[in-house]
């Protein structure tokens, strides 16, 4: 990648003589970390390390001819690296590179952990205004040790992990007079350095197409095909999936639209115990009252057939929004799916799923924005005697006042009941969150944030994250920022499941603009 980057810069060097403008934030920082407790329980603490860091955020540099560079690199000295580089020119080409690393901790003292690296590169170009080509690759490597699932004991057996996965992809897209043909090929090689029996190769080929019917351009036909295959390198065991789909969209008079899609998918393997067909037909009708409302209703029919068992499903869908007054918007969505085992059997039997969602949002401008959200999901499996009833209600409010600053706060409560013929689970989750940011006064601004989480079911868990920060701007474009974070986790039923961290980060930031 380094060599490629050098070649690229050399190719573009003549352009650098042109006039240009750019901006970005450069910062150096130091992070102090004081933590206590079980390091494996609070996931948001896994990638916090004590020490210095250098960041370049939102850096953009644009030449007058439109060639632009951008970079985003956060804490590039610390172990938690998150870097992104890009170069491109509108309508001609673009290149994006990224590198990312993070860890996942598995035991009390943090000695058992895995580290994952991800490197990505993607190049796209337009050799012709109707043609786009792209190609790229992704490398994922993971190594370290992890404890077995459900085994939080400090003395639990650790398992070494060491694998890497490399993916290449390339594709094209051809656009012409409202039509589109798109194709992409991917191949993935997975190497497990601990157990070569797991080594495998995956590949995917897909083509999509879309074309307005000549002389009837209000009808747009679409369709495509995808082949996906996974093969074990040692045993040659293979599973493949072939999917074909098609449909149309018709823009009817009076702002009506009709959409239809079908999908046929067959998955099979070299062995004789896996072969499944999925056939889906779906149709939607929409009507729009411009700037005022929209209503969509749809029907979906599905068949899942593995040649021994067959499951059919019928789904109904409706959604809509309306803006009855300035700043007021109401949205709703309803979905119902009934799955019935027609032949044979399946473990969970027939299933019924039902979902409702509503959202009301009012933006008064001067007095802020308030949103209320409600969601209800129900799943029933009669033969199994189970029912899951999930309800979530959320409310949030935000306001910005030029003289004082901004405030946003919200609360979400989620409750669920899980019943079967033997037992019952219940859970309740509460989440409270809020942010306050003052306006700048004498070059100083400050902020406060809170997230509080409480969950009760078979367990009783509480966690919260507090954040205080202050910024002081001095000279021209320099800022000094101090942040204090508290992270806390407590499981009131299991004694060694607790964690507290005090985190202080100080940063010197220079905003450049030229």
């Amino acid at each position: 990648m380094k060599k490629l980057f050098i070649v690229m810069i050399a190719l573009l060097f003549p352009s650098l003589a042109l006039a240009a403008s750019g901006a970005g934030d450069f910062s150096i920082s130091y992070l102090f970390l004081d933590e206590e407790g079980n390091q494996s329980v609070q996931h948001s603490s896994f990638n916090i390390y004590e020490g210095p860091g250098i960041s370049i955020e939102d850096f953009r540099y644009t030449l007058d001819n439109g060639l632009s560079f951008n970079a985003d690199m956060k804490n590039i000295i610390l172990n938690n690296r998150n870097m992104r580089l890009g170069i491109g020119k509108s309508g001609l080409f673009g290149l994006r590179l990224s590198h990312n690393q993070y860890r996942r901790v598995y035991n009390f003292d943090g000695s058992s952990f895995t580290r994952r690296h991800t490197n990505q590169g993607l190049l796209w170009l337009y050799p012709h205004r109707h043609l786009k080509l792209w190609g790229g690759g992704t490398y994922i490597g993971r190594s370290g040790s992890m404890t077995d699932l459900f085994d939080p004991d400090p003395g639990a057996i650790s398992t070494d992990v060491d694998y890497d996965q490399v993916q290449y992809k390339g594709g094209f897209q051809l656009n012409y007079e409202g039509g589109l043909v798109r194709g992409e090929f991917r191949v993935v090689e997975f190497d497990d350095n601990e157990n070569e029996d797991r080594d495998q190769t995956r590949s995917e080929v897909r083509f999509d197409g879309l074309i307005p019917v000549p002389n009837y351009e209000w009808i747009v036909l679409s369709g495509g095909f995808r082949h996906f295959e996974t093969k074990y390198d040692i045993s040659d065991f293979k599973i493949s999936s072939n999917r074909g789909w098609g449909g149309f969209r018709a823009n009817l008079p009076e702002n009506f639209q009709l959409r239809y899609n079908f999908i046929f998918d067959r998955t099979s393997s070299d062995s004789d115990f896996v072969a499944t067909d999925n056939i889906t037909n779906a149709a939607y009708v929409s009507h729009v009252w411009p700037q005022f409302a929209m209503l969509t209703v749809g029907y979906h029919h599905g068949i899942n057939d593995d040649f021994e068992d067959e499951v059919k499903s019928n789904s109904f869908y409706a959604s809509g929004w309306i803006r009855p007054a300035d700043g007021l918007e109401i949205r709703g969505e309803f979905g119902l799916t009934e799955e019935e085992v027609k032949d044979g059997s399946r473990l969970i039997g027939d299933e019924s799923r039902n979902r409702h969602k509503f959202r009301l949002k009012y933006n008064s401008g001067e007095y802020g924005t308030i949103a209320l959200k409600y969601e209800n999901k129900i799943r029933e499996n009669d033969q199994l005697g189970t029912e899951i009833d999930f309800i979530s209600f959320g409310a949030d409010y935000s306001i910005g006042v030029a003289e004082y600053g901004t405030l946003s706060a919200g609360y979400v409560i989620s409750t669920g009941d899980y019943d079967n013929i033997e037992e019952e689970f219940e859970f309740t989750d509460h989440t409270l969150y809020g942010h306050i940011r003052t306006r700048e006064y004498r070059n100083v601004s400050a902020g406060f944030g809170l997230t509080y989480y409480r969950s009760k079911r078979d367990l009783d868990v509480e966690s919260f994250i507090l954040r205080f920060d202050a910024e002081y701007e001095f000279y021209d474009g320099y800022k000094f920022r101090a942040e204090y974070n508290v992270q806390n986790f407590d499981d009131f039923l299991i004694r060694d499941q607790y964690y507290t961290a005090n985190i202080v980060e100080i940063s010197l930031i220079k905003h450049i603009s030229f």
């Binding site: 495509g224 969509t296 899980y418």
Partner: protein, 317 residues
């Protein structure tokens, strides 16, 4: 290992470099006189608008630079402009954000006929819910990737606040530390997939290849992801959970969503004296290459006293 990796990078570079050279050397295209003339006419009055597009995918074509094969002019988006030249009233020209949902998507579809665009018109919940292009994207004065209004990940969470709550739970994908973003999984590009551009099979496999399978003995609930878009999310909540490993239910509750405890197990494995989690023995729960019950291949070594010395099981059973 290092040599193998280097060779893979070099292979990638060998593909990318010719593509790059090709793009730079072959970029000239077409006669653009009409677009240049129309754009210059617009800029006589709207002289600041060219600057709001500079460096963005919609940078206007100019006479100083003809390298772009895509001819971008004002009238490409602001259609029906002819009367506007004589009478500069706002209603005499098309302005994207003021169009209705369907008209706006058709306007953008003049150039953008990507799978994302098609999905918005068919299966994407945002499209079905009445959101249009300008709900998430702006064109003028925007340097963000993909021209989204706000490049920060919390842009999605402004509407999906329940999801925001889940990401702040005890176990969660590392969104807060910036190591992943919403668009790493939700790429909005697929036409056939209901929620995920690449389908759940690719989405989860991108980072979790070790447990992705296939296996000789598949656990059906994990296998369904290949065909039904379900699978992984039957047991895991990908955004976050109060339980470890993003599980929807704590401990055995995950298994008991679909399985009752077999009678024999209730006596030997679920009593107070010898309580075992399902996963203690059925450890290959994502799929096994050796056992249709997903039993730990090392069960005979690890638990030889419990399983065999008790007389309940014999080696090989």
């Amino acid at each position: 290992m290092g040599h193998k990796l280097l060779s893979k990078y070099l292979t990638g570079a060998a593909v990318l470099i010719p593509l790059l050279i090709f793009s730079i050397s072959y970029g000239q295209y077409g006669n653009k006189d009409d677009i240049l003339e129309q754009t210059e006419t617009c800029l006589l009055c709207h002289d600041g608008q060219a600057e709001t597009l500079r460096g963005t995918p919609h940078q206007l074509l100019s006479g100083d630079d003809l390298s772009s094969p895509i001819m971008m002019g004002c009238t490409g988006c602001h259609t029906d402009w002819e009367d506007h030249v004589d009478d500069p009233a706002a209603e005499n020209i098309v302005a994207g954000p003021e169009l209705g949902s369907l008209e706006q998507s058709q306007q953008c579809a003049g150039c953008h006929q990507t799978p994302h665009q098609a999905a918005m018109a068919t299966t994407d919940p945002h499209g079905r819910g009445g959101y249009n292009c300008s709900s998430c994207h702006t064109v003028h004065g925007n340097q963000n990737r993909m021209l989204v209004k706000d490049e920060q990940e919390n842009y999605c969470l402004e509407c999906h606040n329940v999801v925001e709550a889940q990401f702040k739970a005890r176990s969660a994908h590392p969104l807060q530390s910036g190591n992943i973003g919403c668009t790493d999984c939700h790429q909005f590009g697929g036409i056939a997939d209901q929620l995920h551009a690449q389908g759940l099979n690719w989405t989860c496999q991108e980072c979790h290849p070790l447990i992705a399978g296939p296996h000789i003995y598949e656990h059906p609930v994990t296998y369904e992801y290949l065909v039904e878009g379900s699978g992984c999310t039957e047991c895991h909540n990908p955004h976050g959970s109060a339980n470890d490993r993003l599980l929807k239910q704590p401990g055995d509750g995950t298994c008991r969503q679909c399985h009752m405890v077999p009678p024999g197990h209730r006596i030997a494995h679920a009593g107070l004296g010898s309580r075992h989690a399902c996963i203690d023995c059925h450890s290959e729960i994502h799929g096994s290459n050796s056992n249709e019950l997903f039993l730990d291949p090392d069960l005979g070594i690890k638990n030889v006293i419990n399983c065999y010395a008790s007389g309940c099981h014999s080696l090989g059973s």
